[in-house]
Point group: C2
Chain length 529, copies 2
Amino acid sequence: MSGAQPRPPVHLPDGVAEPAGLVDAVLAYEDALMADDVAALDAFFAPGPDTLRGDAAGLLLGHDAIAAFRRGRGGAPQRTLVRLEVRPVGSSGDAALVVAVVAPLGGGRGQQTQLWVRGAGGWVVEAAHVSAPAPAIDTRVWRVVGAPLVAPSDPVAAASGSLAGETIAVKDLFDVEGFRVGAGNPSWLAEAPVADGTAPAVAALLAAGASIRGIAQTDEFAYSVAGANAHYGTPPNPLAPGGLPGGSSSGPASAVASGQASIGLGTDTAGSVRVPASYTGLWGLRTTHGAVSRERLLPLADTFDTVGWLTRSAAVLRAVAIAILGEPSVELAASFLVDPALVAVADSAVQLAFSAGLAGIPVDPVGLGDPDELFETFRVVQAADAWRADGAWVTAHPDAVGAGTAARFAIAAAITPQQESAARAALATHRARLDALLGDRVLLLPSASSAAPSTTADSAELDRVRAATLRLCCIAGLTGRPALSVPMLSAPGPFGGDAPLGLCLVGPRGSDVALIALGEKLAAALGGR
Amino acid sequence: MSGAQPRPPVHLPDGVAEPAGLVDAVLAYEDALMADDVAALDAFFAPGPDTLRGDAAGLLLGHDAIAAFRRGRGGAPQRTLVRLEVRPVGSSGDAALVVAVVAPLGGGRGQQTQLWVRGAGGWVVEAAHVSAPAPAIDTRVWRVVGAPLVAPSDPVAAASGSLAGETIAVKDLFDVEGFRVGAGNPSWLAEAPVADGTAPAVAALLAAGASIRGIAQTDEFAYSVAGANAHYGTPPNPLAPGGLPGGSSSGPASAVASGQASIGLGTDTAGSVRVPASYTGLWGLRTTHGAVSRERLLPLADTFDTVGWLTRSAAVLRAVAIAILGEPSVELAASFLVDPALVAVADSAVQLAFSAGLAGIPVDPVGLGDPDELFETFRVVQAADAWRADGAWVTAHPDAVGAGTAARFAIAAAITPQQESAARAALATHRARLDALLGDRVLLLPSASSAAPSTTADSAELDRVRAATLRLCCIAGLTGRPALSVPMLSAPGPFGGDAPLGLCLVGPRGSDVALIALGEKLAAALGGR
């Protein structure tokens, strides 16, 4: 029955017979896998919503989600079967667990556990669990990693500093002495000098006792909130299997969500900390514009660029913020505003989750203005800044940039001086009006317009998501206010089931640390319901 | 029934009832796991030789092997259960697959698939497959890793050099510009300067188009052949789950065997390439003494130190050797010698595997002398050299070195000048005699006295294995001859089943590349039987 795949040694318990046709089915499945014959593979998996397939990226539930994953991955790594352990289940001869030790062509050993059941149409897989050998470095997430890559700068702080024991994933935009800045683009990296110093935003963390785990990937030049990179791939989102991690601080977010670092050091211009925090279920703070040094940081849009952090716990985020910004001088009152017109740009499921999540919290309505008009002002100023920062390089390297980023730079290149100055005038007006409306109160909104989109979403869908999400995010940008994403909501995930969604708190400028404390209180109050 | 572990959401197919007592058993198991209650865990796993447990380290077969692993690991990482997918198998209600999504305390998501079966004593696990989130860097194997860490030095070679596309795991003894040398010891690393140049043995590989994947761990100061490190842990051996990888080039061997790099750049003084090659199923070449530059390489014992390489394929090993040493001028005749007294120091299973492996290959017997006496000469000269290289540092850092290494240095410190000069005189005599006996012929022997010992082997057992293995290895050291380990034998592994064992070919000085060609011929001839 089998094609290319030779029959490996098959072990059964002593005296137990091999179920008829089972090993042939396993070998035929293996042939289909090696040929990426997705129709055959789909047929080998039991139909219905209860079929399971899990690997390092997470557990998929249901035949359709598994089939969609299979279509998106572009084939499995080539491998041979070293041996099969077959364990019939029950006495009917119609069910067996098959555990395969596999030898990937690229080295190492993997394991595949499958529950096979025989029905009218023959043997099918009801559940599969696949382990492939881990790479030395997950290049979707990291560019360089060490144990540590850079030690804390002070032995006392390393032992007893407020960040002792914490590990940093540094977004590949900050100078780290002895390393290049890659900016998410291999051609940029190849020309980059070795940094002769470390960015203050990094050095301050090292001084508080944290070490650098590694330099993490970013969306190209930080000019995206999707969390994909045409050159290095898409960092995984362990909290939403099959979903994008969000960007542009995609590598730090993925690293922290995966437990590979405890502090993601990122930047947030238009949502690049808040969006990945929302998608990957992390705490994320965009700091007040200008509050944290941007020295030795590759700029995207000076007018809006901020430093930000991603953590799994509020406690670590608070410790980081205090280490860099100092203890807060005052508390922030739990006085909340919500702009219904702004919330309405989010997906309906997100609007529902946001409303349900805030049930019982007193909020006052506010009208911040037309979300399209606010975003247009933000977009033009950001694009003009971005072209000023990167335009010369992008022009000199026309084929070096991925399609999505290139499209955004092309639009940025077309901004006229007149458009820019009009937008900057509008920015000043909007900012004054927004400041008057927001005052010392805290604006609540969803951190993103949806949970993590699927990695296989088409560009139209991603454009739609980005447009809505950027409208939510731009209020903090326009006002230079800090914004905290609290991982306390959920919304439909990329393959069904729930995925994380952040609740965003936009506070007064300079309220960064107090905003975290307020977010903790809110999470405690609402988590207790 | 359950203790600390709260009941997570449990999903079953629509209309399917939860098997009685199953979830309680799963939760009780989880409580036992979190408490590292090994007796309870042992009882939850089905007795007998057919029980299965697999994870990233490999598949263990049988209740006893699983129990031994459990006793050796020192507890599982703390985690909570996110949800359980329960799939009853058959209609008896007595078997079910339980797939758990788990949230490790350290972040990320893992998966555990278990086949539970109800017998007279209640529910037990017949098979388990566990996936934990991968770390950013496996610190047992690597100290620093990049994508790449160092690019090929020449763009033309990167595209079309003989080693284009290959990735190097550099043993942490070679200078790599911009990085420190760690030598397998954190205190040494902390004091090490950043290298201002790259060792020629590394640079030559970069010039041929290979890139550096990372800097890989070594047994401390390369002074061991076990493959363990008191500070950084034991690199995994994917070909012998639960087994040591061999050392001292342990990190490079583990990395290459796992598919994390394609070229392991190591050193071999007393077997530090051949032993890990043997244990992990790799091709390994110890080069002719002096044939490859040792500039910018931390020495262990100058008299015997050589550079060596580890690869998964003969083709890559040949390409590396030719890139560094040039094309061979002559072929090596398939004229083989075997010293029965030397082979007899190996474990009996290895002697059997060696004899069976060579059946049909014409060999002539040779008597090289008393293995104990030969090794004693080697040992004293190596120890004197090692103390000269590292004694001052070890003396100044009395608590910085792991127990096993410290014991060897203590013995080295006690070598008197008289003992050393007597040993050096004996070395000259032995070398002349061995050269006369071996001539231009190739000595065949097992690369090690056993397959990989268990990571849980006690020090008496490891001492026994080392003593025997070093007797096999010292012939190449005493004569400065190259030695090739070919992965073509097998012997009983650490937890039963077969594990890799190398066939070692010791050739004339300068025959390095020709020796690889001969090894390939031998492997092809014997592999075809």
